[in-house]
């Protein structure tokens, strides 16, 4: 019923001529629209549209005991739900490997970048810390959930506000918020995933373009004096040459510069 791969051959033909089915260039992203405050019961939330792909992220917090080997740090858990609502590709059931891997890649990027200041989430060393849950939900799947999910997670964290904490009872007063942001650094992690289709490489595929892709590499980057890669993930069966990776890194630097400016601008506007 929901025919996929109708244009598999054509996609590769178009790419040979440097074009894509929607007229974009190979390293061109679709329009990104970010909206905040989409779910009030969350400590923070954001809706991100990358073209027609829509992902909503919600931040919830809990108070719990710290891990034994990180007694003075709060924790982060990132999960993504690929709801059947968003595509006939998805079915009900336990998380598919796609959901598990996507969430872990996004989580790794946030964790390794130093964006979230874990030590500042400590309430009482060895006893109580804040646990942060970032739940990503796909509302419409039109490809590139990895990058869209990353932007949504970052935006939701940036727009979140600390809940009121009852020190006496040692509990969060859910529904009551302070004006304080979460303890975040200025190292915003942005991921760019390069997808290989045939012999060509592109970014931000639509679902139709992603179907024939059999290899990808995600780079999660933070800025500063120079761009720094905090996480990488090669996925699917296809292999890459060192030259291809060099080519990707060159494009990555360009993309990161442009995207991070655009996205930070949008998020900052929402924060006001």
């Amino acid at each position: 019923m929901y025919i996929t791969n109708l244009n598999k051959k054509e996609i590769e033909e178009y790419l040979k001529k440097g074009k894509r089915l929607d007229g974009r260039k190979p390293f061109e992203f679709r329009e990104i629209v970010i909206e905040g405050g989409v779910s009030k019961n969350a400590e923070g939330s954001a809706r991100v549209k990358v073209g027609e792909t829509e992902v909503i992220a919600g931040v919830k917090m809990e108070v719990a005991e710290p891990y034994p080997d990180h007694q003075d740090e709060g924790t982060l858990m990132t999960a993504i739900e690929l709801l059947p609502l968003a595509s006939s590709r998805f079915e009900y059931g336990p998380p598919r490997i796609e959901a598990i891997e996507t969430a872990r890649v996004i989580d790794r990027g946030i964790r390794e970048s130093g964006f979230l200041e874990f030590k500042k989430l400590c309430i009482k060393e060895g006893e109580k810390v804040f646990n942060i849950f970032v739940d990503l939900v796909v509302i419409n799947d039109d490809g590139n959930l990895l990058d869209a999910g990353n932007i949504a997670a970052v935006a939701a964290l940036k727009l979140a506000k600390m809940p009121v904490y009852d020190e006496e009872k040692g509990r969060i007063k859910y529904g009551e918020f302070t004006k304080k942001e979460l303890p975040l650094s200025d190292k915003i992690p942005l991921s760019t995933t390069f997808y290989k289709v045939g012999e060509k490489i592109l970014v931000d595929p639509t679902r139709e373009e992603q179907e024939p892709s059999d290899g990808r590499i995600t780079f999660t980057v933070t800025g500063g004096k120079e761009p720094v890669i905090n996480a990488m993930q090669k996925g699917e069966e296809q292999t890459f040459s060192a030259e291809e990776i060099e080519e990707m890194v060159k494009e990555l630097e360009k993309i990161f510069k442009e995207q991070s400016a655009k996205i930070s601008k949008q998020i900052d506007k929402l924060g006001k």
Binding site: M1, Y2, I3, L6, E10, E13, K17, K19, L21, D22
Partner: protein, 233 residues
């Protein structure tokens, strides 16, 4: 079409359960039922009266195959005596090896068409839960190369236009071959990528504006505004 004057009242949008019109003389057409002297809509769409017949023209919903329709589908599976073809309908379609244009043996099925291949076929017949296809007609067979787009099957008549006027306009202005499946799958083949993308853009424009008046003028305007470097004038 009879000689009688057809009374086409301005179409109105209706929702399921809505009373379209009341009157003993009216007859329930497509997607309507009659209760007492009321004609009730059974689908979301445009209600239309012609003479005494009242029907609803759906603008959404899946393709309903009819005998003789030309459709474009994708081979999903090969059985011992034919191919299972997905035509984006409520049921799958079947192309028997007997409906191949010439005699082929059972062992050669996969050599001719394999899983993933795109075909233009004709609907031979409809069974209760299956559709039979045939390739025994001119212009039918496998599609190689070219761009495929999907539109809602209800919009296909608009994309074709009266007597093919709309699709012919698009073909000329974009210099592309275009084959339209009644099931909403459309094949475009141009001399270059830019022309194909332009044809795609125009067709999608038609489907977006399908419910509006003066569509031909709007399309001509759209074509003028979207001239590419490959155009002749």
């Amino acid at each position: 079409m009879t000689e009688e004057k057809e009374e086409i009242v301005k179409r109105k949008v209706v929702v399921p359960g809505e009373v379209i019109i009341k009157g003993e003389d009216y007859l329930p057409g497509d997607w309507t039922t009659k209760e007492g002297d009321s004609i009730i809509a059974n689908k979301f769409g445009l209600a239309e009266e012609s003479g005494r017949l009242v029907k609803v023209i759906p603008l959404s919903g899946g393709y309903i195959p009819r005998r003789g329709n030309i459709v474009i589908g994708q081979v999903k599976d090969i059985t011992f005596n034919g191919w299972i073809v997905d035509i984006d309908a409520h049921y799958q379609a079947f192309l028997s090896l007997n409906e191949f244009p010439r005699f082929i043996s059972k062992n050669d099925l996969a050599e001719h068409y394999t899983i993933g291949d795109l075909l233009i076929a004709q609907v031979l017949g409809i069974k209760r839960t299956a559709v039979d296809l045939t390739l025994k007609s001119r212009g039918l067979g496998k599609i190689e190369k070219g761009l495929i787009i999907r539109v809602n099957s209800n919009k296909v008549p608009r994309v074709i236009g009266k007597g093919g006027s709309m699709v012919n306009l698009i073909k000329t202005e974009t210099n592309c071959e275009i084959s339209i499946g009644q099931n909403g799958i459309i094949w475009i083949k141009g001399e270059n990528v830019e022309d194909e993308l332009k044809a795609k853009k125009v067709i999608l424009f038609v489907t977006e504006k399908s419910a509006s008046e003066g569509l031909t003028e709007k399309v001509e305007k759209f074509l003028k505004e979207n001239k590419t470097s490959g155009d002749k004038n």
